[in-house]
Symmetry: C2
Subunit: 451 residues, 2 copies
């Protein structure tokens, strides 16, 4: 059934108050689709429909809703209902929800969690934003190396239904030191009396609680895991990250990087859910900073006022020169920023990067200069001296722009900041100013008596 059709069916059953048919339809659906239906309902129907969803799907459906809807529903729930739902929710989802709620709702959620869960929630809330610790869950299957495969199965059958994954199980010592990992596939293909210690993989790849969450995604991509254990400084297991969360992080991080590169303060909400004022707030700071920093370019032009009055035609090429330099620098900076994100290059590779960019930028600069010379002469009506000035400038500006675009991100990363925030528009501003300086230097050098 198509989504639109589904929404209409639900709406018509609500009008007819045919709740038993509605319950039957809802029972068939995936939690994500149920959440989409809830988003479409009007507020008065929402609590009713939510109560018709089967209990096991309701919690996951709730985790998929927008925070506005979650808040609304929690306000309509009794403490008993809230408690029942929190018991069904996975700890990492609860943490995500609590982070978005106003203080009083968050406090009510914590008050209605059982003590052990509350402690785990508080622990996860304390890890730095964007760290492995902040995205992990504490609901994993822990095994003992002296168990047999049959023991392990018995344990999985007993506790598995409340764990986020049963496909990767972790073997720990009594002090929680992580010593091995066993997959459900290993268990299913083994004899029932085999010991876990014989079966387990002891070369365990893990993340540290304070690792960046982007590095967690890279590990999933490199090693094809379904879950990654998260350990503290003493190699004690404190949680796991599951692959479904890794996918969400991969998409979120990519969006954040793209937004930062376009000089926007990242938001984690879908475009149409963000208010006009909030969108303005995420865009205006950088526009303002970049506009004010363009004072440099005005100042440079002002200091060459006499050159521009003497040869007005020289000003016609300024947009093209600055645009080309900006594009050339942007190409390099974006490539390097992405390569740094993916771990394809490290800050230590700066000399290899520069050596490559020197050669690429010379090739680009020379090709552009040749075409630019012809274009200026035959298309833009410049004389041959002016065309020479413009094409020499473009060659040099492209080289300068690409080297700046290569160095800046590496430098920023080296001193511990996020290279994406210095990207294209900021580098463009720097490169614009440099292109102008080069232009006037070349012009006064090549054209006699210009200064």
């Amino acid at each position: 059934m198509e989504k639109e059709e589904l929404f209409e069916t639900v709406a018509s059953l609500l009008v007819k108050s045919d709740y038993s048919s509605l319950r039957r339809i809802l029972a068939e659906l995936e939690p994500f689709d149920l959440a989409e239906i809830c988003e479409e309902l009007n507020e008065s129907h929402l609590p009713l429909v939510f109560r018709l969803i089967p209990k096991d799907a309701a919690a996951e459906c709730f985790a998929n809703m927008s925070s506005e809807l979650q808040e609304l529903l929690i306000l309509r729930m009794s403490d008993a209902e809230l408690k029942a739902m929190l018991d069904e929710l996975f700890v990492d989802d609860t943490v995500d929800i609590i982070e978005e709620m106003p203080a009083n709702v968050a406090a009510r959620m914590l008050a209605n969690s059982d003590p052990e869960t509350r402690q785990q929630i508080n622990e996860i809330l304390n890890y730095p934003k964007d760290s492995a610790g902040s995205i992990m869950t504490t609901e994993y299957v822990r095994l003992n190396k002296n168990m047999s495969v049959a023991d392990a199965f018995a344990r999985i059958r007993r506790v598995g239904y409340e764990k986020e994954t049963i496909y990767t199980c972790y073997v720990t010592e009594s002090d929680r030191t992580l010593v091995g990992v066993v997959t459900a596939m290993d268990l299913m293909l083994a004899e029932t009396d085999t010991l876990i210690s014989e079966l387990m993989e002891t070369n365990v790849i893990s993340a540290r609680t304070d690792d960046d969450r982007e590095s967690v995604v890279i590990k999933f991509s490199d090693y094809n895991f379904l879950a990654l254990p998260v350990v503290d400084g003493g190699n004690r297991l404190v949680g796991i990250v599951t692959v479904d969360d890794a996918i969400d992080v991969a998409l979120e991080e990519a969006t954040e990087d793209v937004e930062k590169m376009a000089a926007i303060t990242p938001s984690d909400k879908p475009y149409l859910k963000v208010g006009v004022f909030e969108t303005w707030k995420s865009r205006i700071p950088w526009l303002m900073i970049l506009m004010i920093s363009a004072t440099f370019t005005s100042a440079i032009m002002a200091s060459y006022e006499s050159v521009l009055s003497n040869r007005v035609i020289l000003s016609f090429f300024i947009p093209m020169l600055m645009g080309t330099a900006g594009n050339a620098g942007g190409q390099t900076s974006v490539t390097i920023i992405r390569a740094l994100s993916l771990g394809d290059v490290e800050t230590g590779d700066v000399l290899r990067i520069l050596w490559k960019e020197v050669r690429v930028s010379l090739l680009c600069g020379i090709s552009l200069a040749i075409v630019c010379f012809g274009k200026a002469l035959w298309l833009d009506g410049a004389d041959s001296t002016e065309a020479l000035v413009v094409s020499l400038t473009i060659a040099m500006a492209v080289v300068v722009a690409k080297l700046v675009g290569a160095c800046f991100p590496v430098l920023i990363k080296k001193i511990g900041f996020d290279p994406a925030v210095v990207a294209s528009p900021f580098i463009t501003t720097v490169v614009d100013a440099l292109a102008l300086v080069v232009y006037f230097a070349v012009a006064t050098a090549v054209i006699p008596g210009l200064q």
Copy 2:
């Protein structure tokens, strides 16, 4: 053990010809790490070390290598060795490798695959690039709805070792029509005599072979699956995509989008592996196109030559105006492109998008104009009429830029192209020209006797 240390240990064992210790160390490692070691070896040691890797890890290690190394190794393998390794490789990995090989090596790989696999490889190779069909694998566990849980386990134990996942099993009719899905968790928690038909989920979310691979990633993110079935037009199961491949696609697609937005022809190789000439080829076309299209801006300025000669100061603001308009347009276009990619907005939302951007751009334009007026007056030495012209222009240019940035990607998507390729630099060029037109129109209207 740290990577560097590991490389050194391997090197020293090679010098000492201590192959039994080397074999023991290699047996402990993950395939991804083994591939990294192989990349560091010199060519003469490579075949030797590769033969020391345990058979089950060797195929996966091979799949993780660069295509240069893969080609080198295949050339050194006997047909028997190649055949043995191809038997171990998953079909989707084989397809990825074949796509990168020169024709003669690809032909040799096909000739050494068994006939059934060869047919599957050819089928996958035929799906369009970037489609769900092109990233799927054909190695999944197929169950029958009349089986019991015990039968299912028996089947998984028998065929599971050669399947890419056993955690999601697919229930099909005899004509391969997909009717249900069962997870290993369902099977493990059920009684052994339960029928699969009672256990299976019948509301199966699937992808079509010709769906875009990016939409496959979105489904993984929405539904938290470990595998997604791929069906043909008749709902017959033809393959599955596993979550580890979905993560790789998510990272690749994000990199591609970022590269396209920065006017680079996307490459799927890591930065330092791409040659200078190849990098030049991926960057020069757009630089050239954008430089030549900047002829418009030169032409516009040339047609207002008298204005610029009369008031040289007006030219000083051109870089700032064009830069700000470009940044404003880029913010919007990048946001919309990303939202289209993630499915947060559809082309049908164009009116909602425009209505939002009209309001945001007015807020942005007015805030910038106020600051710009003061800056022009007190910092840049303009008189109040000139400051008025500049600030009016910036307000209007920002609105125009944001509306162009909002419409263009939606339009391009609507007519069936990829919005990312028209992004920032291209929109910047359009917006630059529009900003200039607005500037001269405002200047001649506000400053008496200028024209």
